[in-house]
Each structure stands twice: as C-alpha cells, then as structure tokens.
Amino acid sequence: MKNYQTKTCCVVLMLFCLSFTVFGVCNQTTSSQSERDLWNQHACWQDFFLWQFRAYDVREGNWNNRGYFDACNVNLEYPKHWNAAYLITYKLNDNNDQSWHGTIDYRAAAEAAGGNFHNHIFHLAIDDTSVFGRFTPPDQVKTSCLLYDNNTAGANNNPASRAGDFIHEGWHAWNARWGYNGGGGSCGHFNGPNGACSMSPCGCDYFYFHPVSVYVFGAMWENNGTASRFHSPTQVQVEFLCDVADQSTAPASVKVGARSDANARSAARFINGPGYRCGDPRPW
C-alpha cells in the first residue's frame, strides 16, 4: 500500500512539474475573440510561420514549451506570436497619403534582421508579468504573458497590442543603434509622472509630431539628432496601432482593440501629450 502511495506521489509530482513544461507559466488555455478573428483569416498558414520563425529569429530553445511544436494551436504563445507577425506583414493598407508609415517600416522595426532600424535582434517569450515587453541589449526582444494570456486582468492580450509591442521593443533597439538613451529613466523611458504623462515611476515618452506623408515608406528609421525628425518607442507603437485601426484590412475586433490601445497610450503616456488621437469617437 505504501509503495502504491509513493508511486502515486511521484506521478502527481511529475505531472505538476510537466505542466510547467507543457504550458509554461503563461496560461495557454484560451484565446481572445480578436485573436481568433485574425487567425480565422489565415486558418493557420503554415508557409507563413515557416518563414516567420526565421524572420523574427524565434528560437526553439525558448519557445519549445510555448507552442513551437504545436504551431496551429491558437491558444498557445508561439502561434499567438506569429499571428501578430501576420498582422504586421499583410494587413496594412500602405496608403502613402493617409498612413503614418508603411509595412516595410513596421516589419523592419519588429523583425530580427539588422540594418538601419536596429542591429540584429531575436524574440523571446518571458514569464515576467511586471512588463509587457522588454528590450535587453544588445539583441533580446522579450514579450511577456501579459500580451498572450486571455485570462489576465489586462487589455493587451490581443494581436494588435502584441504586434505594437514588437515594434515598441524594436524601437528601443533603434535607440541603441543610433545612440539615444530613450530618456534615462529606470525602464528605458523618461521617469514620470511628467507633464501630461501620468505613468509613475516611468514609462513616459515625448511625441515628435509629424505630418502625414513626410516619411516615405521605409524611412521611419531616419533621424537628424533633433526633434524635427525623430520617433520615440511609444510613438511608433501608437502610429502602428492607429494604422491598424484606420488603414488596414484587419478584422473589426482587431481594429477596435488597436484604436482603444492607441488612444489610451496617446492620452496617458506622453509628456507633451496627448499624442495623435486615432479616428473619431463613433462607437463602431
């Protein structure tokens, strides 16, 4: 009898520990409506994720317990990661007379390859829920459970917010590439609250207002050392989200979420804010 109890104990312990291996720490049991709505537009396009893991330098060693080997399961982290990459890669309208920037810009900020936008980066998933994402120099772009779990308390576990964070963290790498310190605060931004930015103790950026069409597509990386040609990480995130909301063929649930995220950030995260407002306030 005792032997039976011991074996049972071992099996329970094994299952307990394996549960962290299979499911990671993020909860990977559900996905949001906007996740599924975007997903259903491609129904797990395998050619794309076989390109995406190279384009984003997604490494098996970090993602193998997060859906790397079950890449068509929309509840898991890696499928959600490439679903967000799909949004960036295919869904923007690229209207030079209306969009802030083009697919070529947002892709270059988010993807791994080095160049004018940043030196080489690679994408990791982390379980640290004190951040949405983090750029760890010289080359790590990390995104956390807060962008993947559908049952966390937050509003950001959707493909638009996740894609926006890829670009935000990629822009910290842009700062590093071009010698800017991003504000010198404790989290790669300015400390706050500061001006119209209500974040505390950090997370504040400046908004470098620019007209539509002054950056040709592919030129978002350009800077001249002054405020006249420059972007902050939260600004490129807002501009991307706004382009998803107003200048994309994404499903409506993705666009509604993108607009909400853009306007929330515009209202609360800029020292000289508010930044641009994205679209009119008609409910739908």
Binding site: T6, C72, P274, P281
Partner: protein, 301 residues
C-alpha cells in the same frame, strides 16, 4: 541482499531522485525570472499537428460578405442572435461596417436585443476584454435609449485603486476597465440625450482615469452639432491642466495628408509648448555588419 530491505528508505530515495530529475529536466521552479538564458538560433522550424491548409487569399475569396446575422429575435432567442452577431461583427471586414451599422440601428427598439448585449458585455468583461470592447462598441452604435441606463452604470463601475502593477506603474485592472469605460462613454455621447450628455460631461471632470476623461472630451465634442457651443460647455468641465485635450489632433479614418497636415500645423501653432525638446543622447551610427540571414520576402499572400 533482500529486495525488501528498508522499504521506507527506498521510497524516500525514489521520491528524492524523481524530484531532482524533474527539476533538472523541466526547470519547474523557474517562474518569473528576469534572467533569460540565450538559446541558439533554430535550424529546425516550428511544426504543427495539423496538415497545411489553403493560403489566406483562398480563404478570403471563399467568404460570403455583407450578410450579418439578423437582430430581430425576441425573448430567449435574442441572446443567441446577439452572440452570433458579435461573432460576425468581430470577424467582419471594413467593407462590411455599414452592413453592421444598419442592422444595429434597425434593432434599436428591440429591448430584448439590448438586454442580450448587456449580458454579453457583463460576461465578456470577466473573460475576454476584446469581446467586451467590441460588444460595447456595438451596443453604443445602436443609439438605443434602452441602453442608456446600462452604459451609465458601466462608466460608474468602481475604479480599482490597486491591482497588478507593471514596473512602469501601470495597473492592469485600471487600464482594462478604463478602456472599456471609454467605449461606454462613446456610446453615451453618441446617444446624445440630455441625461447622457450630462453623464459624459460629469466624467470629463471627475473620472479618475485620463483615458476616460480624454475620450469623454473627444466624444462629447464630436457629437455636438454646434462645435463652438459644445466647446464652451466642455471647457467648464475640463480640468485646468487638461485644456490641451480639447484641441487634441485627430487623424480621421481615411483622412488625407492635405486635410490632416494643416490641422497639425494649426495645433502646433496654438500649442508651441508641445514641440518636443531635442532627443537625449548623441546621434551616432553604431552600425555593424549584420550577421543574420535574412529569410527574404514573406510568402505570397
């Protein structure tokens, strides 16, 4: 040596060996660590358990457009109709937006449909933020007087003072509720009844979140026929240090540079204080040869 010598010790040893092995293999206790060991680039790509399907272009081509589910059901059937409508609306494409709007307006006087939307919102608020946001948008678009009480109650849900805090200081529960309440504000302002407008103005002044106050300013003004009068009214409620939000620069969906750019120029002229200082740091090109293999263009859509 007997097999049964000191069985208790054997069992203890078995447990210890199992635990050590599992911890080594699975990294079981490694929760929440900031230190991420650097994995090596993958030679083998991800795999799926399913067989490859068609390309997205084929999926989209096979989709039936412009056919939203009806919102004419009554009684218990209303809940199913609303659930199906939200599913459709979430997946709908930009060219279908007007189809959805027409269906919503047509159901404006159907109290059962309005009630079913409120129940969907209440359920989704606990389980799926994106669905709750979408359902609030749809309810607001109905412009139904029957929705006003719910929307008013929603924007007055107690605002959490604490919760899951990020290192930047954002409290997730606050942002989640504020973004939903901002959408409820859009619905109240769009309804544009005297009482709904009063609620919006009240939130301009007293809501604890700038996300909601900012939305209330924009939504109130946008829904006023006489913008000058609306602006004068609003300015009595906007907090002193938030007057700039009255002029927030908006890029409308589909707006061209020729329309937007003069607005931006006027805004910067009226508010020179928003022009950012020079960025911190010394511009330098730290470019180095890129060691990575670019996989080339993504697959054809």
């Amino acid at each position: 040596m007997s097999k049964n010598t000191n069985p208790a010790g054997q069992q203890l040893l078995l447990v210890i060996v199992s635990l050590v092995s599992l911890f080594l293999v699975t990294g079981c206790p490694g929760r929440g660590t900031n230190t991420t060991p650097e994995p090596t680039p993958s030679a083998n790509g991800p795999t799926a358990k399913e067989a490859p399907g068609p390309a997205p272009s084929a999926i989209l081509a096979g989709r039936t457009l412009h056919s939203p589910p009806g919102l004419t059901a009554k009684g218990e059937d209303a809940a199913k109709a609303v659930a199906a409508f939200i599913d459709w609306a979430g997946a709908s494409l930009p060219e279908e937006q007007e189809d959805g709007r027409k269906a919503l307006v047509a159901a404006r006087d159907n109290a059962d449909i309005v009630k079913a939307f409120t129940q969907e919102i209440a359920n989704a608020q606990r389980s799926d933020h994106s669905r709750a946001l979408l359902a609030l948008a749809l309810l607001g678009e109905m412009k139904s007087p029957a929705a006003e009480e719910f929307l008013r109650s929603f924007v007055n849900q107690p605002f959490p003072e604490s919760g899951t805090r990020t290192e930047e200081g954002e409290i997730l529960e606050q942002t989640a509720l504020a973004t939903l309440q901002a959408k409820a504000i859009d619905g109240l302002a769009y309804l544009h009844s005297k009482s709904a407008d009063e609620e919006v103005l009240s939130q301009v002044q007293r809501h604890p979140s700038i996300i909601v106050r900012s939305e209330a300013i924009s939504a109130y003004l946008w829904n006023q026929t006489n913008k000058d009068v609306g602006r004068r009214t609003l300015s009595q409620f906007v907090r002193k240090d938030e007057q700039r939000y009255l002029d927030q620069i908006t890029r409308q969906a589909g707006e061209r540079a020729a329309s937007f750019n003069p607005k931006l120029e006027a805004y910067l002229k009226a508010h020179p204080e928003v022009i950012a200082p020079a960025p911190e740091g010394q511009r330098q090109d730290y470019g180095k040869p890129d060691q990575t293999t670019n996989p080339g263009a993504p697959p054809k859509f």
